[in-house]
Symmetry: C2
Subunit: 311 residues, 2 copies
């Protein structure tokens, strides 16, 4: 497969790595020549780091599959699939999709990494709008495999199918979002939980560290290998319906206290930020992000091994 | 430390294992003599299984630290801490706490495993009410370490401190819930996320399997070793406050669509149940629960190892 990655920032680099790791031939394009030159070096560094942990077999071969192209025409020529990663600005998306649709082979799928703009907002006028969709990754996609696949109303079902098949083939986990909606699935679930988390701290029931402990040493453990529906399906003798019969009343009663749509107040945000800084000084944020990514790598390897052993 | 475990069902057995694994001397009591006799055998089987995975060192020594007592007086004599696990019936909690308060040494802490009844509902009239509280585990506590510690308004701060210190000493992760509230912290967070999950399926955006994939291959990964607050703190250059500045508007906009407090409809529950049964037949539920517990064991070992390597 030949893949064009459009936009060579952090997300573009990560996609280049994901596609090249799976054996695809990748062409990376960016309007900024210096950023483009730098990006290939950064993909190499990333690949070497992943090779050290065992998540990439041969970093040199991987990087050899990534070419940079100064001209968009060169990047798009003969490709099967395009993954776009420009900044989250509607005008930029409109412009680049118009160019991509004019240049790329008619059979190529055109996907955007956007997390906040629906495909319908930048593809309606295009001749090839049926081949356009959103394939929203989670950062960084080489460690977090889920990809939210969401078309506009005019996206062809074959486009959805081909995008999902490609994602599966390269080791990602596509989730089909059947209609456009703000935040897709992942951020809506995150938002629902965060909203209650902020409220519980604001009302004095728990501090930020206690809340994080509740998730990392409790709620988050099962969710890291079975989702919320399978979790409740296994948590009552008769499965999901039995669980809903037993605990639906409790959750409905709780729900009545979870309806505030007030924005998080500046005081609350400042208080939580101060608590975080007491736990982790600002100057240690970068180091902690590196630690987080090492933990994500270790977790990815663990899940690979555990999946083989126990399914 | 001498510990009494009152009620020898699944949760009582699990607590006996957790305390004995940490070297405590455990006395297990149950009003049902047959259940009591069976429970010690089951603790032994559980310990042997955990020993096989490396989460218990010496199953024989562990079980030797668990004694069963036919009389409540024998179980409570000379203990430092009592963990109660009777059925979730207020009258039963009231009766057993009155008996425990009358019999147990004055210095012993009296904790209930209840997930749904606040300590204030069954301790108000007791002479020793200051030493009573809830220590709510997640099932099974030998694999999921979080324990929600929540007192009544009259619970002594030393009682809270001693309970938390004991939980830390035996390898659990206590979270102090500072005021009584329905569902404590964990189930309120779970409820908030489930509510949006049910809604997203009901409105046709995603199916149950896609939603589970979004969590198990996306949202749940970071949450299994850092909580939701640390996750957002690391997800913007300037930390949590920066994150709220960037994405608070998105979450507030989404929140306005997440306010329904309608119960999950029978049709929706039936549809989700049917989808789960298509993925996992009813007769395979038991086997899958065993698989889940093996995965939790493997995850616990992974987290122990990763914690040593990377912190």
């Amino acid at each position: 497969m030949k893949i064009a990655v459009i936009g060579a920032g952090l997300i573009g680099q990560a996609w280049a790595l994901v596609f090249a790791r799976a054996g695809c031939e990748v062409r990376l394009w960016d309007g900024d020549a210096a950023a483009l030159a730098r990006s290939r070096v950064l993909v190499g560094e990333l690949a070497a780091e992943l090779a050290g942990s065992g998540l990439v077999r041969n970093a040199g071969e991987l990087v050899a599959r990534v070419a940079t192209c100064a001209r968009l025409e060169d990047a798009l020529g003969g490709v099967d699939y395009v993954q776009e990663n420009l900044p989250e600005v509607l005008a930029l998306k409109r412009e680049i999709f118009a160019r991509m649709d004019a240049i790329a082979p008619a059979a190529a799928v055109l996907a955007s990494s956007t997390s906040s703009i629906p495909a319908s907002a930048f593809t309606e006028e295009l001749a090839g709008r049926a081949r356009c969709l959103v394939a929203h990754p989670v950062n960084p996609p080489y460690l977090i495999p889920v990809v939210e696949v969401c078309g506009a109303p005019w996206t062809g079902s074959d486009t959805i199918d081909r995008c999902q098949a490609l994602m599966l083939a390269i080791g990602q986990k596509p989730v089909h979002v059947r209609k456009e909606l703000e935040g897709f699935i992942l951020n809506r679930l995150q938002g629902a939980l965060l909203r209650e988390a902020f409220r519980l701290v604001e009302q004095g029931y728990v501090d930020a560290d206690g809340l994080d402990t509740t998730v990392r040493d409790g709620l988050g453990l099962r969710w890291s290998f079975i989702g919320p529906f399978e979790t409740i399906d296994l948590n009552a003798p008769g499965g999901l319906a039995d669980y809903c019969g037993r605990y639906g009343g409790l959750y409905q009663s709780i729900a009545k206290e979870q309806t505030s749509t007030e924005p998080w107040s500046p005081e609350l945000v400042a208080r939580l930020h101060a608590e975080r800084r007491a736990l982790l000084p600002a100057e240690a944020l970068g180091e902690r992000r590196t630690w987080r990514d090492r933990r994500l790598m270790a977790l990815a390897l663990h899940k690979q091994a555990a999946g083989k052993e126990t399914t």
